[in-house]
């Protein structure tokens, strides 16, 4: 990965982690759907989850509620980022292979190019 993209990745995940640090300040009032469900008396139809991992964004076994929420947020940010990066790398590997296959059919690729659309965005 080019250095510029690594900086982008670090800065962006840093911003997400900072937001997660402020998550205990989030409003604890019911949100839009929950408010409507309470007002219109169908909130009781909701079922509890069949299992719980980090329910309500509070990391288990942490006594302090704010710390539990921050920890839950940090874990979520890391998991979501890792998942999407893995998906992105996988999809890009497929797109590169498709592009190279397409280039081979069309003729020799210019030197240094991965060929096709996948290479079009690279400087």
């Amino acid at each position: 990965m080019k250095r510029g993209y690594l900086v982008l990745l670090m800065a962006g995940i840093g911003i997400a982690l900072v937001i997660a640090l402020f998550s205990p300040l989030a409003s604890s009032k019911p949100d839009g759907l929950e408010r409507v469900a309470e007002d219109k008396a169908f909130v009781d139809k909701g079922n509890d989850a069949p299992y719980k991992v980090i329910a309500d964004y509070a990391f288990p076994w942490v006594g302090n509620e704010d710390a539990a929420t921050i920890l839950g947020g940090v874990v979520g940010v890391v998991v979501v980022a890792a998942l999407v990066l893995a998906l992105g790398v996988g999809l890009r590997a497929v797109s590169r292979r498709t592009a190279i296959a397409g280039t081979k059919l069309a003729g020799p690729a210019p030197p240094g190019s991965t060929g096709g659309k996948a290479g079009a965005g690279e400087q």
Binding site: S28, R35, K40, G46, S95, A118
Partner: protein, 237 residues
């Protein structure tokens, strides 16, 4: 997986606007899974031929920030809160098809790991928050870029605000239909209530999305593709 009992606080952290299990009937939940599967498959098919090198880190960053931002419930009137959906923001940053993958990942992790949104309701949660807002938000944003035509100023942020507000209203509209068809609440009851609350929440969505896009345009304008009108042939400009 074992139950893990939590120290239950007096005021639990709010379950955001993700649909919990029990609100949707079995057939409705099934339709949600089919719709989500169709659009996610379409998104995979489209992205695996269009991802460039910068797309992958940008997708990861976008997903991480939207996950964190969705935790930040902001108060709206009447003892109610709302939070960012982020579909429009994701579509502007990574394009609509990659954005569907980003939003599906965020909503999937929220449902499977954070018990935010039901498992049976996951299909419609993905469709309501990860497909409709992305595609419609991108469409409205695209029109706004044509109006702004590369100029700095208020046209583009205003367009982003409008796009975001519309997507929250559409998500609330879709949710109301799904609840009504499931027999959870009659449409004439649930629809006005949902639209009323989300008209306010949408303002928060619009402000956050416009601010985020303005920030990225100032810090890293290369990250956002802005379509421009073709240069006029001997026109006024």
């Amino acid at each position: 997986m074992a139950y893990i009992s939590l120290p239950s606080p007096a005021l639990p952290h709010p379950t955001p606007m993700h649909i919990p299990d029990g609100f949707l009937s079995g057939p409705v939940a099934g339709v949600g899974y089919v719709l989500a599967a169709v659009f996610v498959a379409l998104a995979v098919w489209r992205t695996n031929r269009s991802l460039d090198e910068k797309s992958v880190p940008l997708m990861g960053v976008t997903a991480a920030c939207i996950f964190a931002a969705q935790m930040m419930n902001f108060p709206v009137a009447g003892g109610t809160s709302g939070h960012l959906l982020g579909g429009t923001l994701a579509a502007i940053l990574v394009g609509p098809w990659a954005a569907i993958i980003v939003m599906t990942s965020v909503i999937g992790v929220q449902g499977l790991m954070f018990q935010d949104g039901g498992l049976a309701a996951l299909g419609f949660n993905i469709f309501n928050m990860g497909v409709i807002p992305v595609l419609v938000g991108y469409g409205v944003y695209y029109l706004a870029t044509l109006f702004a035509n590369g100029r700095r100023g208020w046209v583009l942020p205003t367009g982003v605000f409008v796009a975001s507000w519309i997507t929250v209203m559409l998500a609330a509209f879709a949710t109301s239909i799904e609840l009504a068809v499931s027999g959870t609440s009659p449409l004439r009851v649930v629809l006005p209530a949902m639209m009323g609350v989300h008209a306010l929440i949408g303002i928060g969505e619009g402000l956050i999305t416009a601010a985020a896009v303005t920030f990225v345009l100032a810090a890293r304008p290369d990250l956002i593709e802005q379509p421009r009108r073709p240069a006029p042939q001997g026109g006024l400009s």
